[in-house]
Homo-oligomer: 436 residues x 2
Amino acid sequence: MGKGQELYKKAKKIIPGGTQLLSKRPEQFLPDNWPAYYQKAKGVEVWDLDGKKYIDMSIMGIGACILGYADPDVDKAVSKAIQLGSMSTLNCPEEVELAELMCELHPWADMVRYTRSGGECAAVAIRIARASSGKDKVAVCGYHGWHDWYLAANLGDTSKLDGQLLPGLQPKGVPRQLKGSVLTFNYNKEQFDKILLEHGKELGVIIMEPARGHDAPLEFLQYIRKKATELGIVLIFDEITSGFRMTCGGIHMLYGVNPDMAIFAKSISNGYPMGIILGKKSVMDAAQESFISSTYWTERIGPTAALATIKKYRKEKVDVYLINMGKKIKKIWQEQADKAGLKLHISGIDTLGHFEFDYPNNLAIRTLFTQMMLEKGFLAWFQFKVSYAHKDKHYKLYEKALGEVFPVLAKCQKEGTIEKMLKGPIQTTGFKRLVD
Amino acid sequence: MGKGQELYKKAKKIIPGGTQLLSKRPEQFLPDNWPAYYQKAKGVEVWDLDGKKYIDMSIMGIGACILGYADPDVDKAVSKAIQLGSMSTLNCPEEVELAELMCELHPWADMVRYTRSGGECAAVAIRIARASSGKDKVAVCGYHGWHDWYLAANLGDTSKLDGQLLPGLQPKGVPRQLKGSVLTFNYNKEQFDKILLEHGKELGVIIMEPARGHDAPLEFLQYIRKKATELGIVLIFDEITSGFRMTCGGIHMLYGVNPDMAIFAKSISNGYPMGIILGKKSVMDAAQESFISSTYWTERIGPTAALATIKKYRKEKVDVYLINMGKKIKKIWQEQADKAGLKLHISGIDTLGHFEFDYPNNLAIRTLFTQMMLEKGFLAWFQFKVSYAHKDKHYKLYEKALGEVFPVLAKCQKEGTIEKMLKGPIQTTGFKRLVD
């Protein structure tokens, strides 16, 4: 057992759930054998606690490190901010500059507030939107974090968030009084119309991911925009996952459908804690009617990192690079699968591609894939979140490794020996209590 | 008008409320004339956008920078973490080391979770406590942030949080369904007993600041502890303000009354975003039954800064230093006030002292005090949050300035010319919509 797994055994005893994020649980990747912790990360390379180096062809800090780990330009700006003092009794001017930049990138928007996490960002947006509309009920389409306002969707019926977040999630600890406050829908006009029919008058907020695996149908977005305007409902686009993935700003800029508010967190600050709530003045002004205030939202690193990340992104046309590299990885997956005779189902927007093995024992095959790739020096998973630090040389190494691993998977699958090859349990999915 | 005020005028147009924290609004200090923004902060010195240097004898980053601005030891650790990559697909080992340290400092505690802000820290603690007790109602005594669960106290009756947070706060945007979910009490047995009598069976959580201006009466804390245990209620101490102020850890360690959970944010990481939820295994384990997960809670700077801050605090016996210096400032205030013939009312725990001018026009005198001290090169307010970087040399300069300013205040007060001396409006208090 490596040092990382040893430390993780200890962590599970003193940190309930072992990690701070479900998606960083080692069990999701390779139970008992995932390196779990890192000592160093640079570009797309990660060193584990034993000093072993890997190329990260998986989730790149859950998509947060869009420029790559420890980007020299962002880190230079952050280091300067630290030298100059990252916190004081006075405010940091960077937050004003960032507000101007975000409004410039999104001409429909006038005002900005900040947090230091994505979940809290969504909670602030919902507070402002409810205060602005004067109506409490919220319609949601997508994943919007861990907070009470959102998980309340599962009060009474724990299947409501099945397609949005995780199947069968118990809203334990969410006050039961919130039952009925949140309504869920998918990219589906009938579902949405049903909510309007039943709750139209009390509906104050619609929050949705404008892309989720794939783009939302344009006519559907346009319809929602129209209805929200007609009924005085605040429309929020959650761009925490989709923002700065396909263009320099929210993905909605590509659709030409503007929300009243948009929220950003991942991808905007290359891994430094930061959340942005962007909106029209007519809605955002309601923030002044509510108490929304937190000490750490005033520190300097978040806005400094966001400014440096977005400026570099814009200058280097990172979106064009990411889309190109994202398409390329899908092509590599397909070619290598075809060569090996493996059935692969590839999906996801181009810069957030993922695949499933098209067999009933998909999860076992995925686990063996991660296990074999790890042995070859890759952090590899069924998801790949491309970054600006991924270069052709990394793709070539990855492609070569796939060329060796996929045929073994195909052979084992044919012989029924996938599980026998595994050195630990099959990777977990979704929400699960950790035992031990 | 200085550059800071110019920038603030712009900020108010694109950031609703102007700042991210009510307590950093320039209007709270010196409307139209507070420097508002900083370019550099080091030790206890702050440089504004015009390059003017001030000694901070006010709130030191709202108490967050307990070692002083840009502490070399903390910043060295943080810089190393940045060089090694502050985020990756794998977890950072520092979060496990910090968990061990916090449990070592608080022997009653077994487990830890993290956030990156104080408000979110309280929200996580409430979620876990509700999940653990299985009961939704919460009794609160103190200030616990901006989140829905807390502001719900003012639904129906906007006076409920008057003594705890701010007078007359409208809970705009907080879902009305939460009405009745939160009950408020002060350090007062009758008020607390009334809550138990009326809501005892549904009461799942008690959250309180164990010190608020002054220590809670010991027998009162012991009584609450006893009742919480008897009735299966989770007791949370909010140590965000009081933690690491009077001892290396929660102030409750001095009382010998242990909660089931405690939360920390300010003071633990010297201004870098960080929140800690600490608790007994029996309660914290409920975190595993609920979805509490956020990407930025996994970054490396927060736990690195907390480890460096707490280790230095412990090694240098910072608590002893702060208490000594805190007592000293109270003495200086009293002596200078006596000398000038000014009536001063001094209060606050020793390391978080504050004063009021004992006159009906206190607020106007406070404003003139801040105005005159600013002209002498001090950020000065009625509150002073001492840090480890405050040395006798700063005190001497401050004392000398008080020796010049207090007599003027006394004279103007006698002559009724305080307001005439002001170069701008009187400082604001509490929650107020900004008009500009």
